[in-house]
Every structure is written in C-alpha cells, then in structure tokens.
Amino acid sequence: MRSANTAKNLSHRCALWTSLAALLILFLALTGLAGAEEPLRKARLMPLWSPQAQFAGYYMALDKGIYARHGIDMTILEGGPGRSAVRSLTSGEADFAVLWLATALQQHDTGLKLVNLAQIIQRSSLLLIARKASGIARPEDLQGKKVSLWDGELSLPVLAFLDMYRLRVQRIPQSYTVNLFLRGGIDATSAMWYNEYHTILNTGIDPDELQVFALHEHGVTFPEDGLYTLEHAYRGDPAFARVVARASLEGWRYAFAHPEETLTVVLDRMRRAGVPASRAHQRWMLERMRDLTRMDSGTLTDDDAGRLHPSAYLDAAAILRDHGVIREIPDHTTFTGGDDARR
C-alpha cells in the first residue's frame, strides 16, 4: 500500500510541477510580447509656414499612420506668420523643423548647428513676375524698377539673380500677399512657383499677360525646403532622426500617389488653422511640389529624392558666402549628418 501511496504522491507532485512550468512559459511569452512592442517615441515637427500643400507629405505621414508605423508619435505644430521654425527648435518647442537651406546655413554660421535630414525641394521655386504690359521682357528691363522682395534669406536667390545681371532695383518689402503687385504699385514681385504665381493667375490674370523669370532657369538652382534637427539632438539618437526623415519621405510619396485624398487632409488642416483654403490652389501647389521634389522623375531613383545633392549644396552655399551671409561653407557630409547618415 505504501509503495502505492508513494506512487500516488509522486504523480501529484509531477502534475504540480508541470502546471507551474506551463504558467512560467505563459508568463515569459506574455512578457516577451510586451517587450517587443516598444512604446511610441514622441516627436514634434514645425513646418515653415501655415498649413498648406507645401507640407502635404508630413500631414499624410501622420494621417496615414506612417509615423506611428515607424514608432513615432508625431505632433505637427502650426506654423505661420510670427512663428519662426528656427526659434521653435532653439526653444525646444519642436524636435524637427522644415527650413530653407539658406536659413539652415545662416544659422549654422551663427553657431546654431543644424543637420539636414532630408532635402524636399530640390531646386529654387522662386520667380520674379512682371506684367508684359509694363514693357519688361528680359531681366535687363528690370533695371531701376520697383521690385518687391521678402525679408532675410528668402531674398538671397533673388539678389543672386539680380547680381548676375548687374541690376540695381528699388527694393520694396514684400508682404504675405501679392496685392501690391496686382494693384500696380510695383513693377515686379517675388513669387513662389507653387504659391504666389498661382494666386496671381487666380485673380483673373492669364499666364500670357505675365513675364516670368524663373530663377532656376537663370542658373540660380537653390534647394529650398529641407527637414532639419539640431545637431546635438541628432547626435543623441541619429537612428531616430533618420527614421523620422524616412517616414516623412514615405508620407510625401503617399501624398503624390493620392492627390485628392491628400488635398482633403490639407484643406481640413487649413480650415482648422483658419487660413483661406482653396482646393484649386492647393491642388496646384501639390502638383508643383511633386515637380520640385523630383519624386515623379524617372531619371532619379527614390534614393536621390529627399537627398541634398552636394553640387546643388555647394552652389547655394557659395551664393550665401559671396553675399556675406556665411563666412565658410560647412562640409556637406557633416551638414547632412556625418558618416552615419543615410543608414
């Protein structure tokens, strides 16, 4: 009987151990799963300006969950007049910002080291627009005329253009509108191809009534919008910054592939921000962004899109140096994140 009892006890003990082992495995499995699901990492992005299709890629990356898929809990801040993207970086309000290359280089020169994570607009979108009726047909005709220019570094490509033709013009500060030009207060206005040019067309002026000088056609191929972060922040976690850049570029590709959906998202953001929202205008802007990012170009690989090309970088930096904006040209590799870039 005793041996029987022992056997009975043994079998009991076995069952207990087996149960415990099973529970342990279950526990491990559960904790293992939980460990694989890392928490999303918060990030904030400050665009250069009020919501519009100029930033469609970032909005779509957020809206379509591309940032989340890359482990980013992204917040896109609202830009606009009086809300400097550079200041948002220095104040710590934003982790990432959309900046002009010229701005980034100028800041770099003043000691605020920035890293270019992605170059969105690959060439200058700046135009100088005059009315054909005013008799301006060639750049030389602008000599001594009233020309409106934006403040600061936004005027640099235009100044480079004017220098190229040795033109001295009456500089008129340019506001956020083109009304002064439309009323005939000035002879020529600065304009973004994707924005003000279309605004002028949509006040009832036909393209053939306008004389347009596209700066990039006159050798001023000045890359514009890029995605930047502070260098010290970048050094802290380069991989994360790269992930944000990759996700942003993916957002851009999605935006160009789904223009109408993108426009709806952009217009919704614009309305919430209380800025005039014209679908026709945003459609134009999105289409021009596609041209300017060269993401639709068959000759460039996706890898090329989103990259700051050294030659364009050097050309632009040389213009800035020649105008005394910067003293020396930062090394391209360092400026774009160093050796660990593009991994």
Partner: protein, 643 residues
C-alpha cells in the same frame, strides 16, 4: 351611313385641327412675348435692385473714405504731437460709427524720436474705444500701408478675416499722408480705417430675387466675400472655382467682373441649374455684386399662366369638337337615312318610308321634296304600267289586224300558174302596222282579169278599216259589173253614202282581156301607171278622175289601150314617188321611169325587188312615211295566137 359618318368626321377633324393650330399659334406667340417682356422687366428690376444696394454700400464707403481723407489732410499740415494725433484719431472714430478701428502710421525717419514711431490705433469694443498701439515695424510690409504708399492714392484693402475681433470680415481704407509739394511731394505715412463688413455682407445676403435667387459679393481679386456656400467665402476665388470645375467660361466671366463690367446674362450654376445673372461693380473698392436666380422661377408665372390657358384651350377645343361633331351628325344622319331610303326607292320599293321630317331646314325640305318626287314617281309608274298594258293590247290587236289585212291581199305567186298569157306580181309594205294601200286582182270572167291599186287617204287603223270596206266593195262590184267606170262609180256611190268621216281613196282599176291584150281602165285620182314597152318606160296618159268617197254620183270614164306581148304595166302608189330622203328630196317620177327602164327585161319579182331597193337606197335611212305598194302585170299574148 358611311358617307354620312365621313362628312361628320371630316368636318369635325378640320374644325378641331384648325382650332388647335390657331390656339397653338396664339398661345405660343403669347408665351414667347410674355417671356421676352418678363425677362426685360426682371432684368430692369434686378439691375435697379443691385444698383440700389451698390448705392447704399457706396454711400457708406465714401463717407468712411472722406473721414479718413480728412484726417490724412489734417496730418499733412504740420507735425502733430502724439497727444493731438491721438485726439484727432479718437474724435474721428467717435464721429464715424461705421469705422471699427482707426490708426495712423509713418515711414521710419531718423529725425523722429524714436526713428520707427509707434502706430497709434484705436478700435471699438462693446461701445468703448480701446487704444492698442502697434510698436513693431511690420506694418511697413503690409498691404494697408504699402499699397496707398506706393500708389500715392487712397486704397481699399482686400477684405480679410480679423482674428482679433473673432474672425470678422474686415477691410481697410488707407489714405497716404503727403509731405512737400511738386517734385518734392512724397508719402510720409498712412491713415487707416478698419471697417467691418458684417453689415455689408448682411445687406448683400438679404438681396433675394424671386424665391431661391441669391447674391454673391466678389472682391477685387475675385475672392468670394459672400456666397450661399460658406466653404467658398474667403477661401476661393471665382477663378479657382472655374479651375476646379474646369469651366473656362467662368474664368472669362470672372475677368469681366473684376475689371468692373456689368451685364445681364444667362448662366448655368454649379448645380447645373439654368439661371440668369446680373452683376455690377462697387466702384470704390472694385468689388462685384452678383445676383443669380433660376430661370425656372423667372418663367414660373408665365409657365403656369400658359398652362392654364392651354388647359382652357384644350377643354374648349374638346367642347367645340363635341359640338361640331354633334351638329355634323345631326345634319348628316337624316341625309344618310334619306340616302338609304332613296336606295330602296331606286330599287323600286316606292313604299319605303322616308325619315321623319323634324326640322324645316334644308334637309327637311330635301326630305319633303323626296317624298313629293316618290309620290309623283309612283303615280307616273302606275300610269306608265297601265298605258304600256293598253299599248301592248293594241299592239297585239294591230298585229292580228296586220295579219288579217295581209291575208286579204292575194299573196300567192305565181297567182295563175295555168295562165301563161300574162304574169302578175305585187307587193305592199305598210308604213305602220296596218296600211291604207291595197291592191287586188281577180278574174271577172275567164278572159277578163281585173287588177287594181288603191291608196286610202291617211294611214293606220282608220285607213285600214276604210281599205277593208273599199277592197270588199271593189271586188264584189268588180265581179258583178265587169267594167272599170261602172265599178268605180258604183263603189263611190256606196262609200259616199255613209262617209261621215269624209275619208276617201284613190283607185286605179283596170281589166285585161287576156285574149286580145286590150286593157280597159278607169282612174279615181290615182298616180298614172307606167307602161314598159320595148325596154322603154313611160307614164300612161290617163284621166285623173275624182277620188272615191267624198262625193256621190261621180262619173268615171273607161279608157282603152292595147298591150303587146312583152309589155309590162306597172302600177304603184305615191309611197314610191313621194319617198323622201334626209333632205326631204322626193324620189319622183323621173327617177322611177329611169329605174324601170334599167330593169325592163327582168322578171317581175326581181323588177319589184329592184325598185323597192332603189327607193330604200334613195331614202338613205330616212323613215318610211307612207305605205309602198307596187303591182306589175306582164302580157305575154295568147299561146295559140301564133298558130
């Protein structure tokens, strides 16, 4: 009945089709004219409405512009201290309730302290004036400052949404402040009045044309300042809309609008509704006021009026068609009944009833006339039937009489086959069923043959009856007396005795002595006989004598002549010589003699047939007017005389 229906149907069809055409033309023309007139009237009304609204807006805008100008001009004379500038701005703002905020800005000047002066700005809030100075120099690049400065003239800014006042639609009236004169004159600063457009947009939105018409206000740049679709307001320009909708004509329209045009035109809305549009500019600001209203509403009254008129016209046409059809049926139904009855009457049923006469119109008269005609026809047919029956009876009796008369005359030839010394042949063709002519021949004794030809005056039954008497008497007396003069005298006496009807007859009576060839004859007014001897025919010279019958106790004379063997004596009645052709030309004795001469050698039967044929040929189809009787006797001589 089919003909009757056809007339009614044709009549109804013609009347209804014509009426429909007339109504269609009249309604169509009226509709067209009404549309044109209405469109003209509405165009005028809408233009007045829009111009009126624009006038109200303009009055307000001009007042604001004037106040702002006033301040600008005041600031040009001398350099006001901050305190007096503030007082001036405040006072102006207080005096002009339409102005929301008021300020003045100056170009930076090193002479000034500070070089970039603070911009004094007052605005209303809850009935109080708030002082909100602007100390940044951003205004230098803003439209409200730049545009009047660069243009050197008053300017109304593009309307904008003012966040400070909670998204109110605002516009600014800016007037440049000048310094210096002539060449030296330049802009030193700008006086600016902010104006809320709430009242204006309310005014524009209150403009309603017809039921669902609406108004739209466009800025100088073509931006929608008001629109029933709120999404468009301050977001879209008319050109952006044209681009989105891919409607180039809308862009062209927008161009005309922002260039200060004014027009009344047909327009299809975004929703595809055919509409009318009127637009006109607000001169001060370069805005455009547009009024749009659906075409359907414009013409709604005309449509409903036309519909009612059409329904009335249709009902009228139906009623008219019914009435016309009824009348046509009423007229043609008795005609149809009359036609049916007439068909039956035509088939011989005179007892067929005619439709009852209900009215005294033409159809009634026609029915009465038909009734009278039927009655007359019935009587006539009855008379005709009776007459025909009587005539048939007479005809049959006459036929019998003809037979009897024919049977009275000797018709069997050769009459005396056992008497070779002479041939005799005779024919009689009466002009009517019974004739008045007759001939006869008989032996008085074995050697004396009496032959005669007679012609009773008149023809037909009375003549025949008289002939019967005369013939019977002549034969009876001839056989008794045996001498021509006595026979005629005796018969004349008997006939004349009871001759109440004064009838008479001519007779040529002759007796041939068959042995000697001597002929004794007497004439009672008859034609002279022809003697054919040696192939020569000549009339015998005989006394005429008086006809038998009218008068008693007439004396006749017997004459004598000799027939040689071969001679022929030809007797006839005036039916031969007085036979006429179509030109009433008599056959005459001359022709007879000539004809007889040519047939002189023929047998008697052929001779008479030839003469008869000759006479028929002469008549040439003219009807036979008298009995034609011929008798010929040919003497051959006694056979034993040669021995």
């Amino acid at each position: 009945m089919r003909a009757g229906r056809s007339i009614a149907r044709t009549f109804t069809l013609v009347v209804s089709v014509c009426t429909t055409l007339i109504f269609t033309a009249a309604i169509g023309y009226s509709y067209h004219r009404s549309r044109v007139a209405l469109e003209k009237e509405v165009a005028t009304n809408v233009a007045n409405l829009v111009q009126g609204s624009i006038h109200r807006v303009e009055t307000t805008l001009r007042a604001i512009a004037k106040a702002t100008e006033g301040v600008a001009r005041a600031l040009e004379t001398g350099h006001p201290a901050n305190r007096s500038l503030h007082a001036l701005l405040k006072a102006t703002l207080l005096d002009n309730g339409e102005i929301h905020g008021f300020g003045a800005a100056f170009d930076p000047d090193p002479v000034l302290d500070p070089p970039v002066p603070t911009v004094p700005y007052f605005f209303r809030r809850d009935g109080r004036l708030i002082f909100a100075p602007e100390d940044s120099y951003e205004y230098l690049g803003q439209d409200w400052y730049q545009i009047p400065k660069e243009l050197g003239a008053l300017a109304w800014s593009e309307p904008y949404l003012d966040r400070a006042s909670g998204g109110t639609l605002m516009t600014s009236c800016s007037v440049p402040i000048f310094v210096g004169t002539g060449e030296e004159r330049k802009v030193r600063g700008v006086v600016m009045a902010d104006v809320s457009l709430e009242g204006l947009t309310d005014l524009v939105e209150s403009i309603r044309v017809l039921r669902t018409g609406y108004s739209v206000l466009l800025s100088r740049n073509g931006t929608f300042l008001t629109h029933p679709d709120r999404d468009l307001v301050m977001n879209e320009t008319i050109f952006g809309l044209a681009e989105s909708l891919d409607r180039p004509e809308l862009r062209d329209l927008g161009k005309k609008m922002v260039r200060g045009g004014s027009e009344f035109l047909a327009y299809t809305t975004i929703g595809g509704v055919s509409s009318r549009m009127y637009y006109a500019p607000v001169p001060s600001t370069g805005w455009t006021l547009v009024v749009i209203f659906p075409e359907a509403e414009l013409y709604a009254d005309v449509h409903s009026l036309t519909l009612v008129v059409t329904v009335i016209a249709l009902a009228g046409i139906l009623l008219l068609t019914g009435a016309v059809h009824g009348i046509a049926r009423a007229v043609t139904a008795p005609l149809g009944a009359l036609a049916t009855a007439t068909e039956e009457i035509a088939a011989g049923n005179f007892d067929a009833g005619l439709p009852p006469v209900g009215t005294r119109d033409e159809v009634g008269q026609l029915t009465l006339a038909f009734a009278a005609m039927t009655s007359a026809l019935r009587d006539y047919i009855r008379d005709l039937t009776e007459t025909t029956a009587a005539k048939e009876r007479i005809q049959s009796e006459l036929k019998v009489a003809t037979d009897i008369q024919a049977s009275l005359l000797p018709r069997l030839f050769p009459a005396f086959p056992d008497r070779p010394e002479f041939d005799i042949f005779a024919t009689m063709d009466p002009a009517k069923e019974v004739g008045g002519d007759f001939y006869d021949f008989f032996f008085v004794n074995p050697t004396n043959l009496c032959f005669l030809v007679a012609d009773v005056a008149d023809k037909g039954v009375p003549a025949a009856l008289y002939m019967m008497v005369a013939k019977t008497l002549l034969k009876a007396e001839g056989q008794r007396l045996g001498e021509p003069d006595q026979i005629l005298a005796c018969v004349n006496t008997i006939l004349a005795a009871d001759n109440d009807s004064c009838m008479f007859t001519t007779v040529f009576c002759a007796i041939l002595d068959t042995e000697s060839g001597e002929v004794r004859f007497a004439n009672a007014g008859h034609n002279r006989p022809v003697l054919i001897s040696d192939s020569t025919a000549r009339l015998l010279p005989v006394r005429t004598g008086f006809v038998l019958g009218p008068m008693a106790d007439v004396v006749y004379t017997t004459e004598r002549m000799m027939l040689r063997p071969g001679d022929v004596l030809f007797l006839y009645t005036d039916g031969i010589t007085e036979a006429t052709n179509r030109t009433d030309e008599l056959y005459g004795e001359k022709r007879l003699l000539k004809a007889l001469q040519t047939v002189a050698d023929m047998e008697l039967v052929e001779m008479l047939a030839a003469i008869r044929a000759e006479v028929v040929r002469h008549a040439d189809g003219a009807p036979q007017s008298d009995d034609v009787t011929m008798i010929a006797i040919k003497y051959r001589g006694m056979p034993n005389a040669d021995r």
